[in-house]
């Protein structure tokens, strides 16, 4: 394993000069083709000595071809090594930059030390630990990438020194053979790596290697947090046809076996793939998750806008009865409208920061037909808990995949607000959280969420009966009564002439032109001063009034 000081001492620029010189040698040698051909004994030469001349010329030609192949192999291997080492050094510099910017020091052996004095605040301790882990992960992967560059170059040089067969065709073909031999195998992603590990691994690949991973191993990255959105999108689109073929095969088997339940599940998953493709064809979308392995449901996440570059990114998690087949199109449309509204507010009131948002159907939301199943019922925390880990990782992956973190807003509706609330109890980079139509967010105390004070919002519409079932215990108390959450209005409103419609019921929050959509767009766009505060309380809220002695 190479060390940090070794890698930092390498001079890829010098290696590059050697590579350039080898390329020049290769060209010079290949240009000898005509001379070589002209030097062949003419066919008109008839004598005993001609055979010897021909043999001698053939030996010379083949030796030259072998030399061309060896030089080409070394040139190609050096070129790749220059790129790979430069990237690895870049990753190391980035890690050191993060360290220096956050009060950590890194020894020559790669040991990371927090320079801050003793910390007592639990939140600060957790935050510092997370930053340290990010630095350690980046250094680890940079060294792994550098090590791979080193061993690959050494192998190519040893192979060239041992002789390369340039074949019996032309010198240009020999050069091509050698160049191919100088390519290195793509380094596989680190097993069990964190999102920072995986991002550093990805950034350490050359562009050609990234393209190879997308075309030959898309399953390595399509659903992998820490990988940039553009690459996940490309990889997942590569996989759609394979997944369709897989599910179609399984469906045929299930139908043959007369398994009606499984057949329905597989049919719905195939319908989900259709819904995904229909949505993608609208353009300006990124397919950030596609997973056919769920027991009951297809899982998918589609972004509207560019998650890699947007200044403001929102992630919307829906709830009960949601399926990709039945709901992706509708949620995509609502999310698109939200982005448009947020973008207009950003342009008009703010600094014009760009906006993107994700419809995240990345967990198996509870359905009507498993309402009595304690492991997957809407009355149980289990589905939300199962999804929360993935959702937290998704949030973190957005930050890890970018050089500059976006302003990140988490949106959770209905049972999805429980999933979101549970995810936010883990350490994530979420800056604002909006929980609406919520039966409970998994806790009765906003301090349990890893979101800065004053940045957790709730919305409840008039006659939203789902939002009034809170207080059943296991989801936490009704969010209407959680101290520290800011209520945003869902009512028909006027702000010096503003005319926004009221939201009524459980499914009206993202309706265009509504007060609730306006408020959510303002938070997403980073202009919270444009929101209208308010809390809608109805008869149902009397019945969910918390009993303070119970929590």
């Amino acid at each position: 394993m190479v060390t940090m000081s070794q890698v930092r001492s390498w001079r890829p620029a010098t290696l590059g000069l050697v590579a350039d010189a080898m390329v020049q040698r290769r060209r010079t040698l290949v240009a000898l083709q005509d001379e070589m051909d002209d030097g062949a004994p003419p066919s008109t030469w008839v004598s005993e000595s001609r055979d010897a001349a021909v043999a001698s010329h053939t030996t010379l030609r083949e030796s030259l071809a072998d030399l061309v192949a060896e030089v080409a192999q070394v040139a190609a291997a050096l070129d790749i090594a220059v790129d790979a080492v430069t990237r690895a050094q870049g990753e190391l510099d980035e890690a050191l930059g993060v360290a220096a910017g956050n009060g950590f020091s890194v020894s020559t052996t790669g040991r990371v030390t927090d320079n801050r004095d003793t910390l007592t605040d639990d939140q600060e301790v957790a935050d510092r630990r997370a930053i340290r882990e990010e630095i350690v992960d980046k250094i680890e992967q940079a060294l792994r990438n550098a090590g791979h560059a080193d061993t690959s170059l050494a192998a190519a040089l040893r192979s060239a020194a041992g002789g390369v067969d340039g074949g019996t065709s032309s010198l240009a073909q020999a050069a091509a053979t050698g160049t191919a031999g100088g390519q290195r195998g793509v380094l596989a992603p680190p097993t069990g790596g964190t999102d920072h590990d995986l991002n550093s691994w990805w950034e350490g690949l050359t562009e050609d290697e990234q393209a190879t991973v997308i075309s030959e191993h898309p399953e390595w990255i399509g659903n992998t947090d820490g990988i940039p959105a553009w690459a996940r999108d490309d990889a997942n689109r590569e996989l759609i046809d394979d997944y369709r073929a897989d599910l179609t095969g399984q469906l045929a088997t299930a139908q043959e076996a007369g398994d009606k339940g499984l057949s329905e599940t597989l049919t719905q998953k195939l319908d989900g793939l259709d819904a995904v493709e229909d949505t993608l064809e609208l353009g300006n979308r990124q397919l950030l998750l596609l997973d056919i392995t769920g027991e009951d449901q297809l899982m998918a996440a589609i972004a509207y806008g560019d998650v890699d570059t947007a200044d403001h990114v929102a992630v919307f998690t829906p709830g009960f009865t949601t399926t990709v087949a039945g709901d992706m199109a509708g949620y995509d449309s609502q999310v698109a409208n939200l982005v448009e509204e947020a973008a207009a507010q950003s342009d008009k009131y703010g600094d014009g920061g760009t906006v993107a948002a994700v419809s995240w159907l990345g967990y198996e939301a509870p359905q009507w037909d498993n309402v009595l199943d304690p492991g997957s019922s809407v009355a149980s925390r289990a589905p939300a808990e199962a999804g929360a880990g993935n959702l937290a990782s998704f949030y973190n992956g957005i930050d890890a995949s970018r050089d500059a973190d976006p302003h990140l807003t988490a949106l959770g509706h209905s049972y999805g607000s429980l999933t979101t609330g549970l995810a936010l109890q883990e350490q994530t980079g979420v800056d604002d959280a909006i929980l609406f139509g919520s039966p409970g967010i998994g806790t009765s105390h906003v301090e349990d969420l890893d979101v800065s004070g004053g940045h957790v919002y709730r919305l409840e519409a008039r006659r939203d009966v789902v939002a009034d079932v809170g207080g059943l215990g296991q989801f936490g108390i009704d969010p209407s009564y959680i101290d520290g959450m800011t209520g945003l209005s869902t009512e028909q409103g006027s702000i010096g002439g503003v005319d926004y419609a009221e939201s009524v019921g459980h499914s009206d929050y993202l309706t265009r032109g509504s007060m609730s959509q306006h408020n959510m767009a303002s938070i997403v766009a980073g202009v919270p001063e444009q929101t209208v505060e308010g809390d809608t309380r109805g008869f149902g809220d009397i019945l969910s009034w918390p009993l303070p002695w119970t929590y």
């Binding site: 300006n284 449309s333 973008a343 207009a344 014009g352």
Partner: protein, 140 residues
């Protein structure tokens, strides 16, 4: 949809020209928030129908405050000539003005000024004659 986009683009150009003629040129630019045509499905009776958001134009700053209402009127007059005969004032308060217009086909424009000035356009539900490939979507 193709004809609607052509018509709306012409209307937008006329709005900007009318503002320039009366209030002076401004450095309108395409907002980075609107990369090309932004398509979404409408659902409902016609699943193939789409709504499209045209490129949002904006410029830093605003017209002179005492010209705000006049600017909005210019935009609304042009809009009315192009079939946007309904609409209203979304907000009118110190430091914040926004109007909108709608046509019979569900198309909607907004024109607003606060920190910056924006002009957004979105179609109602229409079908494409030749739906664009995502990579081919042109900025309009």
């Amino acid at each position: 949809m193709e004809q609607v986009l052509t018509d709306y683009t012409a209307m937008r150009d006329e709005m900007v020209a009318a503002l320039a003629e009366s209030l002076g040129e401004r450095a309108w630019r395409e907002s980075p928030n609107s990369p090309g045509l932004r398509r979404s499905r409408v659902g409902g009776a016609d699943p193939a129908a789409e709504q499209v958001g045209l490129v949002t134009w904006s410029f830093e700053g605003t017209y002179a405050v005492d010209a705000w209402h006049g600017a909005a009127r210019l935009v609304a007059e042009v809009g009315r000539r192009h079939g946007f005969t309904d609409g209203g004032i979304t907000v009118d308060r110190p430091g914040d003005l926004e109007i909108f217009g709608v046509d019979a086909h569900g198309g909607r424009y907004t024109f607003g000024m606060a920190t910056n000035t924006i002009l957004t356009l979105r179609t109602g539900p229409h079908r494409w004659e030749h739906p664009p490939e995502p990579a081919d979507q042109q900025r309009t």
